[in-house]
C-alpha cells in the first residue's frame, strides 16, 4: 500500500518535471535542425547560429541588453544592499513596502506607470535611459531581500564588538559588514543581471522605437513567424541565464528556500 503510493507520487512528479522540461528541450533541439520548417528532424546544422551572428539588428539588440544589464544590476546592487541593510537594522515600516511592492505587483502596472512618467512628466525620449531606470526599479527589491536574508542569519554581536573595539561606522562596514554580505551582493548582482536581460513586459512599455533589446527582438520575430533562428537565439539566451542562476544559487543557497 505504502509502496504503491510512493510509486504514484514519483510517477506524477516525473510527469510534471517532463511538463517543465520537454517544451524547452524541443526549442533547443530544433535550433540544430537543418530545415526551415520547425516540423520534423532533418539533420544537424549550425547554420542558424551562423545566420544569427550575421544579423546586425540582433547583435545591436544583444549589445543593448548586455550594457543595460551590466549598468542596471550594478546600480541595483548598491541601492538594494543599502535598502537591505536598512530594513534589517532599523525596521523602518515604510521601507519594505516601497522596496517590495514593485516586485509583487503585475509587471504591466509598473510598465505603464513608467511610460506615463517618462513621456508625460519628464517629456523624455524613450530609449536607453528609460529602460535602465525601469530595470533598476524592479531589481532593487530582489537584491534587498537577498542581502537582508544574509544579515538576518548573522550574530548582531559581531557589529557591537567592532564598535566596542573603537571602529568607526565606516570601518565597521568595510571590515565586518561588507565581507560578510559579499556573497549576497554577488548573488544579488547575478539575479538582477538575469532579471534585466530577460525582462520583456516592462521594457516593452518604456523602450520607445529607437532602442531594442534581445527579448523585444524575439517578440517581434515570434509575432511574425516561427523560424529556427528564434530557436538559436533562445538557446543562447537560455545558456547565459542558466549559468547566471546556477552561480547565484551556489553563492546564496538560501535563494532556493525563499519564494523568489
Amino acid at each position: 500500500m505504502r509502496r504503491r503510493a510512493q510509486w504514484l507520487l514519483w510517477g506524477a512528479s516525473l510527469a510534471v518535471y517532463a511538463f517543465l522540461y520537454v517544451p524547452l528541450a524541443v526549442v533547443v533541439i530544433f535550433s540544430f535542425n537543418d530545415s526551415l520548417l520547425n516540423a520534423e528532424w532533418v539533420g544537424f546544422t549550425l547554420s542558424w547560429y551562423r545566420k544569427l551572428l550575421a544579423d546586425e539588428e540582433m547583435l545591436a539588440a544583444a549589445g543593448n541588453s548586455l550594457a543595460i544589464a551590466m549598468l542596471s544590476s550594478a546600480l541595483a546592487t548598491v541601492l538594494g544592499a543599502m535598502a537591505g541593510i536598512a530594513m534589517q537594522r532599523w525596521r523602518l515600516p515604510w521601507l519594505p513596502l516601497l522596496v517590495l511592492t514593485p516586485v509583487a505587483m503585475p509587471e504591466i502596472l509598473l510598465g505603464v506607470s513608467l511610460l506615463l512618467f517618462f513621456r508625460q512628466v519628464l517629456d523624455l525620449t524613450l530609449g536607453f535611459f528609460s529602460i535602465l531606470a525601469a530595470h533598476v526599479t524592479f531589481s532593487i527589491g530582489f537584491v534587498a531581500v537577498i542581502v537582508r536574508a544574509r544579515l538576518a542569519g548573522m550574530d548582531e554581536g559581531l557589529f557591537e564588538a567592532a564598535r566596542d573595539l573603537g571602529a568607526t561606522p565606516w570601518m565597521t562596514f568595510r571590515r565586518v559588514t561588507f565581507p560578510l554580505i559579499l556573497p549576497a551582493l554577488v548573488a544579488g548582482f547575478l539575479m538582477s543581471f538575469t532579471l534585466s536581460i530577460d525582462d520583456f513586459v516592462i521594457t516593452f512599455f518604456v523602450a520607445g522605437v529607437g532602442v531594442s533589446t534581445l527579448p523585444l527582438q524575439i517578440y517581434s520575430m515570434i509575432k511574425v513567424a516561427v523560424t529556427p533562428e528564434v530557436n538559436a537565439v533562445s538557446t543562447l539566451l537560455m545558456a547565459l541565464t542558466l549559468t547566471m542562476v546556477l552561480a547565484a544559487t551556489r553563492l546564496a543557497p538560501d535563494i532556493l528556500r525563499r519564494g523568489r
Binding site: 521601507l95 516601497l98 514593485p102 508625460q120 526599479t137 530577460d198 542558466l242 519564494g259 523568489r260
Partner: protein, 284 residues
Amino acid sequence: MDERREALEAGSRWKRWLVAGPPTAFLLAFFLVPAIIVVVASFREPGEFGGLVPLAAGAAAFSAEAYRFVLGDIVYAEIFAASFAVAAVTTVACVALAYPLAWLIARSPRRRRDLLVLLVILPFASNFLVRIYAWIMLLGPANLLYTPFAVIAGMVYVHLPFMVLPLYTNLEKHDPALLEAAQDLGAGAWTRFWRVTFPLSLPGIWSGSALVFIPVLGMFAVPELLGGTGDVLIGNLIKEQFLDNRDWPLGSALSIGLTLAVLALAGLAAALSRRGLKGTGAVS
C-alpha cells in the same frame, strides 16, 4: 550619560538616512511618483494625438470620462470577468500539478531536496518569451494554437514554480507524527491526505495562489501570442490603450481597476493564510 546617548541617537538617525536615503529617493521617484501619475492621468482628458490634454487647458483637462466609459460598457466588465476566470483555472491547474511535486520534494532526504527544488527553478531561468515560444512550437502542429486551451497551458507553464515553492515550504514543516497518529487511529491513506495533510497545507496553497493569480490577471503576452482573437484579457486591454489606441486616460483607469483587484486579492490571500495558521496550530 544622557548626553552621550542623545548624541549616539542623533548620530544613528543621520546614519540611518545615509543608508536608507538613496534607495528611498530612487523608489519614490521611479515607483511612487509614477504610480500617483497613473491615478491623476485616469482623471484627465485624452489628447487629440495621444497623450493627455495639456494642464494649461484648466478645468477642461480633467474629467471622469474614462471611468464613465469603463463602467458604462458591459464589454469591460466581461473582460474583467474573463480574466478572473482564466486566472482561477490557471491557479487550480497549478495546484494540481504542483502538489505531487512539492510533496515529493518535502518527503525526500534532506540532501536531495535542494537539487529537486533547483530542477523546478531552472526552466524558469529561461526567458519568458522563450517559454511561450516553446508552446507555439508544440501546439502549432497539433492545431491547438490560438485557442483558450493554449492560453491556459502557457499561463500554467509560466507560473508553475510560484506554486511549487510556497507549497513545498509548507509541506516540509509538517510533523510526520501527525500522519502516524492518524494511521494508528485507523485512517486510510486517502483519509490521511484529505483530513490531515491537505488542510494543513492550505496556507501554502493560499500564498502560492496569490503568486499565480495576481500576475496572470495582468498578463498580455500569453493571450496575445498563444490565444485567438477572442482571448482578450485586462492586460491586453491596457496595452492596447497605451500603445495602439493611445487613449491614456482610459488605459490608466483600467490600470487602476486592475490595481484595486490586485490589492483586494492580496489582502484576501494574506487573511486566508493567517486564518489557516490560527485554525491549524503550529504549521505555517
